[in-house]
């Protein structure tokens, strides 16, 4: 019996190209055979040699190239965003669960960098003929992601996109959750797909309960092994790396007391999630 998990092998890949999305968000492209068959919502462990290894959702995946979209928040993401064509990265994965298509009408909500894994999902929904509304929420205009790609999806498949910014500098002024509530009260949806801050996920979860619309959400926790044994990412009786990162409605219901409230730090201590 092999003690070897194919996806878990550390592969060294060369950066193909880097695309600046915003002031502090970049998409890093590379080629990897295993990533080509990744599903929307799955993640990689990305090793920046000499710096750190961090979990990142795939923002695209094809035979030619796959990508991660990274916002600079700390040492590892800073080093990643300094990467140039030809630099070497280590990757493990794709790992975890993915978004599953339910029904014919989809409401997709992304908050800031949370939009990263949703681009892949939008492509899948639209090519499967799902009528889709996407709410892209951000603090301000400069943090809106993927404007070009979303426009292309609008033109090709009729994707309806609603932009919201907290300061009103782009699209509708207000929160993505407020736009979601308007959508839900005006139209019928079969399913909701969410990625973003956990406080946003929690708010959308209560909307999903009110409107009884099955919701899937991608969660984030500290990760180390990514193969379900170290326990760093446990939430309730689930491991985000193995049972998640995408959780379905019934799983979210089970962990609702922790959702948006608690997480664990590097010590494994339960701590409050800052609002």
């Amino acid at each position: 019996m092999g003690w070897h998990i194919k996806n878990n092998e550390m592969r060294i890949v060369k950066v193909h190209r880097v695309k600046a999305e915003t002031r502090n968000v970049k998409t890093i492209f590379f080629e990897d055979e295993l990533c080509a068959s990744a599903e929307p919502g799955q993640f990689l462990m990305v090793w920046i040699p000499g710096v750190d290894e961090i979990p990142l959702s795939l923002s695209s995946a094809s035979k030619e190239e796959a990508s991660v979209t990274v916002k600079e928040v700390g040492e590892a993401t800073h080093a990643l965003n300094k990467m140039e064509k030809g630099n070497l990265l280590g990757i493990r994965g794709p790992f975890g669960s993915s978004f599953k298509i339910i029904g014919k009408k989809a409401l997709v909500i992304g908050g800031g960098i949370g939009a990263a894994p949703l681009l892949m999902l939008l492509n899948k929904l639209l090519t499967n003929g799902i009528e889709t509304v996407f709410i892209m929420g951000a603090k301000t205009r400069s943090e809106i992601l993927f404007i070009d790609q979303l426009e292309a999806l609008h033109n090709e498949y009729g994707l309806e996109v609603i932009f919201t910014t907290d300061d009103g500098s782009y699209g509708t002024k207000g929160l993505a959750t407020e736009a979601a509530e308007r959508c839900l009260s005006e139209k019928v949806f079969d399913s909701m797909y969410v990625c973003g801050k956990e406080s946003m996920i929690l708010k959308l979860y209560s909307l999903a309960e009110t409107y009884t619309i099955p919701m899937q959400a991608s969660l984030e926790r500290i990760m180390r092994c990514a193969i379900g044994i170290c326990g760093s990412c446990v939430i309730g009786r689930y491991r985000v790396c193995k049972d998640g990162p995408v959780f379905d409605f019934s799983q979210l219901r089970e962990i609702r007391r922790e959702l948006g409230k608690f997480k664990r730090n590097f010590r494994g201590e339960r701590i409050f999630i800052e609002k």
Binding site: M1, M10, I12, S232
Partner: protein, 304 residues
């Protein structure tokens, strides 16, 4: 068939001989309950010390051909905080073993005293962590230090004390004897083996700590040999650990002398069903070979 798989170790009653190994998932109260629900005979928590630790930077876990290498660096919230979390469990349906580490004999004693404030059934002394300087194996490599730690912990608490040994020594029997004569109630063998992986493209060790501990299939024959040697040297129960993934692995360690086995890395491959599958596999083996009880196979490989 009731009772066929039950085993008693230092007064702990296990419904079957599978135990969650320390360092694997046992960091949250809820997950320990989850492992109990998955059918384990007992659970061991992650190793906890007096002071909180962040652990090392990633990469902390990397796969090799025949196992897993890790240097996580003993991240833990500190024993006081951890005991508060463990108390949330209330009463677990199976024995709960709390693993502790320290940087000195005094720290082990102090941690053990706080550990027993939680509703636990035994303490396992991690005298074998291979990748934290000054803790674990640095103490566990010396028979004198092992004696000192075990004697003092035994004097300070009235719960059974298990001692987890490192295979990274020239003679594991010597350490086992030191633990046993100092009053240890059981010995867990073995912890991981010191090892390294170097990536040949970036020309550097992958683990941030460079050196880590090897677990999984690669170390099973070493675990079998260690358990076999220890069984001949001491008269206290042995808990076998290292590369157990199937009932065959468990039976092999038991034939070498283990009264129970710990399961860790295999969860990455088999999921939590590994506990039930190993236990049921042992049951089928006993039936096929005509053994009435799992106790009948402990150390059987030593018979001439």
């Amino acid at each position: 068939m009731q009772g066929q798989l039950e085993i008693e170790i230092a007064g702990l009653k296990l419904r079957n001989p599978t135990i969650l190994a320390s360092g694997i998932l046992g960091i949250s109260a809820e997950y320990l309950v989850e492992i109990a629900n998955a059918g384990a005979g007992a659970v061991t928590t992650k190793s906890v010390g007096l002071e909180p630790r962040e652990g090392y930077k990633n990469p902390t876990v990397v796969q090799v051909e025949c196992g897993i290498l890790n240097a996580i660096g003993l991240p833990n919230p500190g024993i006081r905080r951890f005991v508060e979390e463990i108390k949330e469990i209330g009463r677990l349906e199976i024995p709960l073993i709390l693993s502790i580490y320290g940087f000195s004999p005094e720290e082990y004693v102090e941690a053990a005293k706080i550990a027993v404030e939680a509703n636990i059934d035994a303490v396992e002394l991690n005298l074998s962590c291979p990748h934290v300087k000054g803790a674990g194996a640095e103490i566990g490599r010396s028979p004198e230090m092992v004696s000192l730690v075990v004697e003092n912990v035994k004097k300070s608490i009235d719960k059974p004390v298990f001692v987890k040994l490192t295979p990274n020594v020239s003679d594991i029997k010597e350490i086992a004897v030191a633990a046993a004569t100092s009053g240890a109630d059981a010995i867990t063998a073995i912890n991981t083996l010191r090892a390294m992986v170097i990536d040949i493209e970036t020309c550097r060790p992958i683990l941030s700590n460079k050196i880590g501990g090897l677990s999984g299939g690669a170390i099973k024959p070493i675990a079998v040999r260690c358990v076999y040697e220890i069984y001949e040297a001491v008269n206290i129960p042995i808990i076998g650990c290292g590369g157990v993934r199937t009932w065959r692995d468990a039976v092999e360690l038991m034939l070498a002398g283990a009264s129970a086995v710990q399961i860790g890395s295999a969860i990455a491959y088999e999921g939590l069903s590994v506990f039930r599958n190993v236990a049921e596999g042992i049951r089928t083996y006993l039936y096929r070979k005509g053994f009435r009880n799992v106790r009948d196979i402990i150390g059987l490989a030593h018979k001439e």
